[in-house]
């Protein structure tokens, strides 16, 4: 089912906003994780890890889910389809992998925030893990953004079959009215 243009624009706007919001939130998360790993100020380090947990739960996870859902709506509601073009399929895989890792990583963030809420030794907190995960997420989301803009050519076999079917159906529809008109003229 293809969406009407006004609905399609609305769905597209929602998808772009949620995806770019996710990207921006990951950039903020990266900044906090660097501060948490390198700052010499104990309060800054603890605050960074506490903030990272909140951002993870209340910003990153909602944005990732919104991006996934709106992406599905956008692909299924347009002629692009979900499995017809490689770039759409690649974006779906990127989104699924990133969301899954993010959801699992919230447990680590909760553990780090719990340590940060105590007066524990800062050495326990200075982990490169949040930085590595943020950089990985940033790379994946930038790749997805680039795919959205460049839309590299390449149709899957399924997409090609569907296109052929549609062309045949269109050609058949064009021929039918002509025959009817000719028969009516006789």
């Amino acid at each position: 089912m293809t969406m009407a243009p006004p609905l399609r624009k609305l769905a597209l706007t929602t998808h772009v906003v949620s995806s770019v919001g996710w990207l921006g939130a990951v950039a903020v998360f990266l900044g906090l994780s660097i501060a948490g790993m390198t700052s010499q100020n104990p309060e800054t380090v603890r605050a960074a890890y506490l903030a990272m947990e909140s951002i993870g739960l209340f910003v990153l996870v909602p944005f990732s889910i919104a991006s996934l859902i709106t992406g599905l709506v956008q692909s299924l509601g347009t002629k692009w389809g979900l499995f017809r073009n490689y770039w759409v399929l690649a974006k779906l895989l990127i989104n699924l992998v990133a969301s899954l890792i993010l959801l699992m990583y919230t447990q680590t963030l909760a553990a780090l925030a719990e340590i940060a809420s105590t007066n524990a030794d800062l050495g326990l907190l200075r982990s490169p893990s949040p930085v590595l995960h943020a950089v990985g997420g940033l790379v994946l989301l930038l790749a997805a953004a680039a795919l959205s803009v460049y839309k590299p050519r390449g149709m899957t076999r399924y997409g090609w079959r569907k296109q052929q079917e549609q062309r045949q159906a269109t050609q058949a529809a064009r021929r039918t009215p002509v025959r009817v008109t000719q028969e009516a003229a006789r």
Partner: protein
Amino acid sequence: MTDSAAHGDLGDQPVGSSSRGSAPGTPRWVKVFGALALIAVVALVFMLVAGGGEHGPGRHTSNGAGQQAQPGSQIPSGVSEGQTPSSGGAPGHTPPAGGH
């Protein structure tokens, strides 16, 4: 902006696809993308195996401290007897040992 005439802008409908009689082959960029994804997966599996299959909060925190600071468990090193985890963190939260 991109070649909008050939590909359509963000969210526009696809224009000008393959019209040849045979199914199109896999584009080069898809092969490169797949190879990179495969390398990433292999590296991840290698890291998991090298780490004894453990990839939870305890692995991410320095000295495996992720599980030491749980309420009701051992107090992390550097914390005195009176300094138990405050309620400002995640009360009652118990990160799974086999989690991410």
